[in-house]
Structure formats: C-alpha cells, structure tokens
C-alpha cells in the first residue's frame, strides 16, 4: 500500500507540473514566476509585474489557461469513461465511441452546420448542445435496442448493436456531406478535434458536467471491481447487472458526449489510459478510476501543447497527436511491464 501511495503522489505532482509547463509554453513563453504573478493579479488584485505586457496576460488568461484546463478535463473524462466502459463490457476495446457517441455527435453537428441553425437562447452553445444530444441519444438508442433484443443485456449484444448503429449513423453523415460539399471542410475539421476555440465559458460548462460526472462514476468502484469477476458472480453477490450497465453506460455517454460536443472527436485516450493505469496501479477501481482521470488529463494537456506549438502558427489536429504520441508510449508501458512480470513469474 505504501508503494501505491508513493505512486499516487508522484502522479499528482506530475500532473501539476504538466499543467504549469503547458500554460507556460506556446507561441510566447511565460515564466513560472510570471504565471504566479498573473494569478495573483487576477485573483487577488495585486499589480502585475512591470515588464509583463497586457497582451501577454491576455494570451495567458483568456486563451491558454482555459484551453489547458479544458484539455485536462476532457482528457480525464475520456480516460475515466474508457476505464468504466472496458470494465462494464469486459472488453479491452470498448468505449463510448464504439457505441455511437462520436458518430451521433458528428451527425448532429453536421445537421446544424448544413442547415445553418442556431438555437435562440443557446447562442454559441448551440453546436455543442446539439452534438451532445445526438451523441448521447445514439448511445441510449443502442442500449434500448439491445434491451429489446436481449432481456439480460449481455455485453455482446450491447457491443454489436452499438457498432451497427454507429456505422449506420456514420453512413447517414457521409450522405449528408456528399449532398452539401461546401460544408464538408468545416464538418471534417470539427471531427478532427481541437481545443482552439475554448474560452472560459466553455470551461465552466465542461467543469460543471465532467467533475460531478467523474465523481458519480467513482461511486461505483466497488461494483466495477466485482464485475471483473464475471456477470454471474456479480449477480450472485447482489448487483443488478442490467440496471448497473444502463446507469454506467449512460453516465459514460454523458461525459463523452459533453467532451465530444465541445472539442470534436479525440480518440485513443479512452482506449489506452485504462491499460496503462492498470499496469501501474493494479486492478482496484478505487484507485484506477481517479488515476485514469489524472493520467488522461495530463496526457491530453501534453498532446494539446504539442498540437499548438509544433507547427506554429498552425495547429496539428489533436486526434492525430494523441495517437502519434500515445501509440509508442502505450507499447512501451504495456510490453515493458509485461516482460517484467514474466521475469518475476
């Protein structure tokens, strides 16, 4: 247990370092002392250091900080939902994306873009809202269809229906795009995912959904542990598997849907975060879930940093960055530890 505690503290410290570094780097470098100065100014009213131009303060406070926080939030949400979905569906490839969040949200966004609508009182939140509703809606549709077909809601059924529905929705999207080519670029850009448009107002919405969402999922860590041993065992111990699946999958879809709605589709993190975290921390969800949140958050923050600095002034699509960095990292952690455990066996 002591070892675990040490590991946890290291992770927390790493996260904080990542956040500081990420907000300090970009098209302009901002030293840590200046960062603290800006915080002091904004939160406590202390005067800014002399040599700090207000333009740079703008960059830091209005552009970079919200963006970095959003990246951390989205990263943690995706990592946590990945962990939960993999445990619920007992499938290492399971994620909310495979059940239709991404294709649903894309379809919603495409409809908005093509028909140029905005919802009156939502203003600039119309697009995220629609994306979210469609994304969550697709998953809920998948679950209800699965429930019709299979009373006991077997994992296989859920996964299959999810995939079929997801692909179907994707094809609808393709047809839409082909019929209105002038919007193709905008829709595809949205799909590629980006944190470039994030402002504080977005961050507040993200925070108000993701933070409680993650806490909610953490309430079920015991159930998640028990579910690892199989459905029959879980049922026998008294878990209502059907209800649990519906609750957990819906909650995950809610989190993922929110993330996707604001920043597009950023993959890979929900897939690998659980594996990496389990390799380091073991299986107990009480630790794995929060650590996934930290790991996913830090990872996404780093990915966003890379995406906005490496070909400045342009940006790399963040989905590409997460996979480019993630794949070798995953390989290293996964196979390295594997050989370690083999040696010990």
């Amino acid at each position: 247990m002591k070892k675990q505690k040490v590991k946890i503290w290291i992770t927390v410290l790493l996260c904080m370092t990542v956040l500081i570094v990420a907000t300090g780097l970009g098209s302009v470098s901002i030293e840590t002392s200046n960062i603290l100065g800006i915080f002091a100014h904004k939160l406590l009213g202390i005067d800014l250091p002399n040599n700090l131009s207000s333009n740079i303060v703008s960059i830091f406070w209005t552009i970079r900080l919200p963006r970095t926080i959003a990246a951390f939030l989205v990263g943690s949400a995706l990592a946590v939902t990945g962990t939960v979905m993999q445990s619920v569906l007992r499938n290492p490839l399971a994620s909310s994306y495979t059940l239709g969040v991404s294709s649903g949200a894309s379809l919603g966004v495409a409809l908005m873009v093509i028909f140029g609508m905005t919802i009156p009182f939502l203003g600039r939140f119309s697009l995220p809202m629609v994306g979210f509703v469609f994304g969550l809606g697709t998953v809920l549709l998948a679950i209800s269809m699965a429930m019709q077909l299979d009373k006991s809601l077997e994992n296989q059924t859920i996964i299959l229906i999810g995939m079929v529905l997801s692909l179907f929705v994707s094809s609808l999207l393709t047809i839409l795009i082909v019929l209105s080519k002038e919007h193709m670029e905008q829709i595809i850009f949205w799909q590629m995912g980006s944190f470039s448009a994030i402002k504080w107002s977005h961050v507040f919405v993200l925070l108000s959904i993701i933070f409680p969402g993650i806490l909610f999922l953490m309430y079920f860590t015991q159930e998640l542990d028990i579910m690892t041993f199989g459905e029959e065992q879980a049922i026998s111990v008294g878990i209502d598997m059907r209800r649990m699946k519906i609750v957990l999958i819906s909650a995950s879809a809610l989190l993922t849907g929110t993330a996707v709605a604001f920043v597009g589709i950023i993959g890979f993190i929900d897939l690998i975060a659980p594996h990496v975290v389990r390799k380091i921390y073991g299986a107990s969800h009480r630790i794995v879930v929060p650590m996934s949140a930290l790991f996913g958050g830090a990872f996404m923050t780093i990915a966003d940093l890379v995406s906005r600095t490496i070909i400045s002034p342009s940006e790399l699509p963040i989905g590409a960055v997460t996979t480019l960095i993630g794949a070798p990292f995953f390989a290293y952690v996964y196979f390295n530890r594997r050989s370690v455990t083999k040696k010990n066996a």
């Binding site: 542990d225 028990i226 041993f229 199989g230 029959e232 049922i235 111990v237 008294g238 073991g282 299986a283």
Partner: protein, 256 residues
Amino acid sequence: MLKLENVSAGYNGMDVIHDISFDLSEGQSLCILGPNSCGKTTLLRAIAKLIPSMGVLELDSQSIHDMRRKDIAKRIAVMSQISRVNFPYSVYDTIMMGRYQHIKKSMFKKASEKDYAIVEQCMEEVELTSIKDQMIDCLSGGQLQRVFLAHTLVQEPRLILLDEPTNHLDMKHQVGLVKYLKEWSQKDGHQVIGVFHDINLAMQLSDNLMFMKEGHVKGIGHSDDLITSDFLKDIYDIDIVAYMVESYKRWEKFSK
C-alpha cells in the same frame, strides 16, 4: 424452505430443463447428479434467478421470481468454477467483495466493524489469513478456491449453490472443500445444493441425492433408497455400481 414445482428453464427460447419439482426443508442439503448436459447447471442458475424460468420457485414461501436481486443475494450465494484470474486483487479485497450487499447500505459504501470481523473470521476458517495481502493472480488452484469459498461465506447466505467447484482441484482440496461445506450446512439452518460429477464426492456432502437426465428429474431421495444398479445404468448408460464395486475391491487390497 426451498420449493420447486414444474420448473422449466432454458436458453434462447428452448427449454433445457422441464417440469422440475422438489422440496428442500430447512437445514437439508441436496446433491444434483447426472451425465453431461442433463441440465444440472441450468437448474442451479434458475434457482439463483440467473436465468428466467417458469413454474413455482419459492424460498421460505416467497416467490423467487418476484424477489429483487438484493433480497436474493442476502439468502442465496452461488459458487461456480473459477480456475484462473488475471487481475491483481488482493485476497483480502476479493473476500471483502462478498460483503457487497451489506456494505453498500452505508453512505460512502464503507465497510463497518462487523464487515471487517466477518471477513477476518471467514479468512481464519479457510486458513487464508497468512496470505491475505497476496494477489490472487499468483495463487495456486487450491488457494484460489478457498478465496472464493470465503468470498461466498462472507455473504452470509442461508443457501449456497455449488456449481461443480471441485473439478480442477486436486484430491486433497476437493475433499477438504466438501467436508467444510458439510460442516457449514449442518448448523444455523444452512443449506447447500451442489452439482457434482463425482457421486462419491457428492455423498460426502449429503446423502440427499437427485439424479437428472435430459432435463428431467429421474429420482430424488436418500442414497440408500435411490441407488440401484439399474437406476444408475439408466441414467449414465454405464453400470456405475459394478464399476464402483470393482474399484473398491482394488482399493481394499491397497489398504492391507
């Protein structure tokens, strides 16, 4: 009191067991025997409501069909075959998971003093206290079996359903497990229903036997009353009695 009347159940719309009826009074245990695919496991699953079924299924005069999952879990525990696990939970944590029903009542799902006490007591009884912090993916088959036994016991059930839990174990652990369960079943109104392949081992648990074939009950009662050469030949398509007698003669020689 467990009561079954005309119970049928199956998978994908096809019934595997038909018209099963029997009663089990308090403190009474039962062994379910029969050849492969005779429906033993299906029956067990039906009783635990792991699969839906038709017919009367009552526990203490309450219909199991109508019971909520948590009410069932408070009284019935299922112990199936688990040969290997790949995930590193500790022995202690795994056993504690059996207390789920009792733990989740509290606000933050924290274990209470009673939970800790019961877990430790059961760990003692199955002699696992010395390895309580070891990871279960590194245990031997016998140790793992005891972990899941403890996990089942801490649930504090009245009825334990065993699904051939000894198949992969060596003799010592097979016999040990069954002996332990027999002792357990003889106090506090506990009951065990075990599905077995090995008739000898079954009889270690209880003399109350039920034989099934092709989804039907072929006979139920005390071993003395039930077992005859023809009866078993009908069930297993092989003269078990003769085989056993022959084996006995051979073994008798070894004891001299």
